[in-house]
């Protein structure tokens, strides 16, 4: 199996075996990601980061990954400063940047922008989020976190909680978890339920997701609670928003109803979905999860560039 030269636009571009290859490679990257070991494996390689939308974590995590591998980074996070402002098409921007770099990471507000970039670039393109669409590297780091903590994904019971309708991370994650054989539990307010097409995709993969609106009941036997932010702007009525947000908050009281070894994950940034009290418990995995973005992205960069890291 070889990922050299491939693009990563959607988690659906990867087979089960390819996902495990990346997760295995990410594990090998851990000592390099933490700075314990050093490498110059990507010396002379250039990563271009095209961030048409603001991002701090994803962009910095890609930059850290490239620097830890000994490579260089060019790019922008302020499209107002570029020719895009002058009306240049995305296709043209990508063609030009492609000639400057060896691999491209793109975040854009329009869905499908990364697919377009992949069509116009010869170098590998990694999607770092396109509109309300896909965010495959977030998905991979979520899977990596679960693997590291639980040593498996198949047969695990995973509850996805919060805004399942608009949240871009949960759609990719639901698909990937179904592909890898996890049991899915969807917990959301009625108005923010998982879209039908995602539920159908999970079913096509043999999963039978169960849906709940009550959080306490849903998390009783789960191994993983994956929480997402419920955004205020999704609710026309602010009182309705307050009511909903309050009932989807993870705190110590709620965790008493869960398994002793349950882990709590969150793609961050969080607002008030998780009580800070939970941070100090063994259940809180979200900060380590954010760190795992670095080894996972290091694994991807080296695999797509076909360079072995020793």
């Amino acid at each position: 199996m070889n990922l050299e030269g491939k693009d990563l636009v959607s988690i659906r571009d990867l087979s089960k075996e390819e996902i495990f290859l990346i997760l295995g490679k990410a594990d090998e990257m851990l000592p390099f990601a933490s700075g314990e070991k050093r490498t110059k494996a990507l010396d002379g390689k250039i990563l271009a980061t095209l961030f048409f939308e603001p991002s701090t974590r994803t962009k910095m995590s890609f930059e850290t990954a490239m620097h830890r591998l000994g490579g260089d980074v060019i790019g922008f996070s302020e499209p107002a400063m570029t020719s895009i402002k002058k009306g240049e098409t995305l296709a043209d921007t990508v063609k030009i940047v492609d000639s400057y770099s060896d691999i491209i990471v793109i975040r854009h507000s329009m869905e499908g922008a990364a697919r377009l970039a992949a069509e116009f670039a010869d170098s590998p393109v990694i999607n770092a989020g396109d509109g309300a669409g896909r965010h495959p590297t977030q998905c991979l780091l979520d899977l990596f976190t679960i693997m590291k903590e639980k040593k498996r994904i198949e047969g695990l019971r995973v509850a996805l909680v919060g805004d399942l309708r608009y949240g871009r991370t949960v759609h990719s994650l639901a698909y990937a978890l179904a592909l890898l054989g996890a049991e899915l539990i969807f917990v959301s307010p009625e108005s923010l339920k998982m879209p039908k097409e995602i539920v159908n995709d999970c079913r096509d993969l043999g999963a039978e997701p169960r849906s709940f609106t009550n959080l306490e009941r849903a998390i009783k036997d789960v191994d993983v609670i994956y929480v997402t932010r419920i955004q205020k702007e999704r609710f026309p009525d602010p009182t309705e928003y307050k009511k909903v947000v309050g009932s989807y908050r993870i705190d110590m009281d709620l965790l008493r109803h869960a398994k002793d070894d349950v882990i709590v994950m969150h793609p961050l940034p969080r607002v008030n979905e998780i009580d800070p009290e939970v941070d100090r418990t063994k259940h809180a995995l979200y900060f380590r999860q954010a760190f795992y973005g670095v080894p996972v992205r290091m694994a991807l960069l080296s695999l797509l560039l076909g360079v072995d890291v020793k």
Binding site: L90, S109, E111, G112, R115, D130, E197
Partner: protein, 153 residues
Amino acid sequence: MKKKELKIPLIKEGTVIDHITAGNAVKVLHILGIPEKTLDSVVSVVMNVKSKIGKKDIVKVENRELKPEEVNKIALIAPKATINIIRDYEVVKKFKVHLPDEIVGIVRCPNPNCISNAREPIQSRFRVISRDPIRIKCCYCEREPENIADNII
């Protein structure tokens, strides 16, 4: 037979597209780019014809033999259509439309935030994920249009 001839005359050479889902004949012509500006073939359209399987539309294009790969595109909105190639008033070839695996430049993605709707040098592209019922998925944003006929470009 005579009655049918009154409705739509027999053609000497050309193509008859039969069993088009009632009401979709004009859209079928639109997809096929017929009538072409460069050709002066006569095109006849009959709509809401009663048949054994309910109402249907029929299209006859004179002096033009449509190739399967051209016609397959119409399977999106007329999945039961049959194509008859006519030479010297005789049906010399008859085949059913077959939906291709990919639909390019025919359907507009209904997602306004899809990059295929932006000013970019690309055509819309959909992958066929189910043939019965027909379900297609945008290759760019991965959304499925609920009503394909409403989104024909």
